[in-house]
Amino acid sequence: MRKRDARSAARGAVAQPERLGTAADAAGFGLSARSFVRSFVPWLALMAFLALPPFVGSQSWLLAYLAQTATMIVFALSYNLLLGETGLLSFGHAAYAGLGALIAARVFNASGMPLVLLPLVGGMGGALCGGLFGLIATRRSGTAFAMITLGLGELVVAAAWTLPGWFGGEAGVAIDRASGPRFFGLSFGPAREAYALIALWCLAASMAMFALSRTPFMRLANAVRDNPARAAALGCYPARIRYGVVVLSAFFAGMAGTMGLVNIELVSTESVGMMRSGAVLIATVIGGTAAFFGPVAGALVLTFFSVIVASVTRAWPFYLGLFFVAVVLAAPDGLAGFCVRHAARIAAQGWRRCRAAYLWSVLAALLWSATVVLAVQWVYAARFGVDEGAAGVLFGFGANVGADGAPLVSASSVASWWPAVALALLAALGALTTRCAMRAHARFTSPSSGDAR
């Protein structure tokens, strides 16, 4: 691992300007034309992801899924202003999103303002909360900051339950998104129109945060992240910089919360809770905090699990957790860092030399995934029987459940032993291919320790 880092560092001299990208852009020293074009690719991909699927099919689940993804993208990007740019680990980020959305819902219901501008109101609501909580939280950094945000997050949840008048209690606060004044003939009642609004706000917020991440102010935030004592010795107050970032981040979090409000027309107490704060942390870390588009990738992965996988099996949090642990172990710099590293390796070694190693890796990953999925689904099917749907029937648990409510009865039948055999076989194959893959990869890392020096 370390060897590989040293190597990429040594080789990184050429790649650095692009990856940092910051100095040159803002200073107006143009990057080369090719990397300028390449810097647009992620944006085009994001636009394509948001815009194309609705033309293919406009089932309501698809729009709901896309809207959730768009919301999570903005939410995770706002979180990364704290975690990636300023080095602040927050456990209470959902509070800004939830309270921003709550304020937006209250304002919308009271004033009848146009729905189009609602995310701005939510953003300002979020920033207001950020300004308030930040006063306390940003006095410390590191673990103390994390603990304070955890406490504040719990505080908001407790307040949500004890003040049903403000937070709407069990039912939450609902809006009717079609009740505002029409905007160029659009009522935003239909899901398609609401989704278009959400997607556009997602793009606008992402671009705003991208621009923000290139500003000198954010470089100061980076400086405070890297070395607060040094930054202070230059005459910069680290706590003030942190405060500024918390307010900005809370603004975009409030925006994300309001996009969710537009989607489901409801703010519930869940939207301020720990689950949501944990989800955005997981999304950001999976995607990678070092690259701007890392959290976007993480948001895509997270909503894939929480919507698509969740629609197939109730074991989805298990898979998400497993994937999270795998990412943190194998690529602490997230999917973005993983891709950058391996793209650099392929560029340096040539695809032909790397091919075998990657093919073995993919094979090993597939085999292990199959093993895990099979094992988990088996256990879930044994436990929940028909509830698990198709999987339960597949393993032969479905039939007996209704009769006596003891699904494990059928586990003793000979027919249901085949998964155990299959599991053992798959695991053995997985171990074998992992060995091959590791050997193939070792061929790259061992000679490289020489050229790192």
Binding site: G12, P216, R219, A233, L234, G235, C236
Partner: protein, 248 residues
């Protein structure tokens, strides 16, 4: 004349241990002053007190006549005192150029309006570029600072301190951990770049001390036992016994 930096009766205790036992020192504007002394004499502690990293148990610190004893590090920095750190201290995940830009941005604060925190400004970039060349890192402009070699990081550290535009500089062992050639280059760099500024440096390398300093103070066991020109210090019997003799 008002001294650039005045220390009056500085004491520092950690529990029952007295690290500094009443340090008095005045440094004239434009002077290059070296602070030498054996390990554990309290040199780095004194630096930390001056820069605001900790507060003295007793005594006052003046910067151009204004008391800075109880100010925060950032507030002291804004009054024109910059420091380098004993351990290398750069912003590891920023590019070399951005390291200097951050420092320059804070230096130009009188002329920097808040929106330039958003848009950047050519004056800041020009200053950062100037410093980049001055410390000889022009070729490493866009490299991540954390990946630089040790000597280069020290040079960048000095550049960051200088880019702040401070009139008074505290350098803590600027040549520590360098080989002879690197140290010689660093000394030359310090001589060139600190012209016209007040300099207080801690240094173990006697070549560096005698090459740079106008005046030398010797700190032994929390007290300044001698202060004077390099020639006078070299000749001082007490210093020879307490410090120089010990090393030769």
């Amino acid at each position: 004349m008002i001294p650039a930096l005045g220390l009056y009766g500085i004491e520092k205790r950690f529990g029952a241990t007295r690290i500094l036992r009443g340090v008095d020192l005045e440094i004239e504007p434009g002077e290059r002053h070296a602070l030498i002394g054996p390990n554990g004499a309290g040199k780095s502690t004194l630096f930390n007190l001056i820069a605001g990293g900790a507060r003295p148990s007793a005594g006052r610190i003046h910067l151009f006549g204004a008391e800075i004893t109880r100010l925060a590090p950032a507030a002291i920095a804004r009054r024109g005192l910059a420091r380098s750190f004993q351990s290398t201290s750069v912003f590891a995940r920023l590019s070399v150029f951005d390291n200097l830009r951050c420092a320059a941005m804070l230096a130009e604060r009188d002329r920097t309006r808040w929106w330039q925190r958003v848009t950047g400004s050519p004056a800041i970039d020009a200053r950062a570029t100037e410093l980049l060349d001055a410390v000889g890192l022009g070729a490493r402009r866009d490299v991540q600072a954390g990946t630089l070699g040790y000597a280069e990081q020290r040079a960048l550290d000095l550049g960051i301190a200088l880019a702040g535009g401070a009139h008074t500089l505290l350098l803590d062992e600027p040549t520590a951990g360098m080989n002879r050639a690197e140290a010689a280059r660093a000394i030359e760099l310090i001589r060139e770049t600190t012209a016209g500024r007040t300099l207080l440096m801690v240094e173990h390398d006697m070549d560096a001390v005698f090459a740079i300093a106008d005046r030398i103070s010797v700190l032994v066991q929390g007290r300044i036992i001698a202060s004077g020109s390099p020639a006078a210090i070299r000749a001082d019997a007490a210093v020879r016994a307490a410090y120089l003799g010990e090393r030769q």
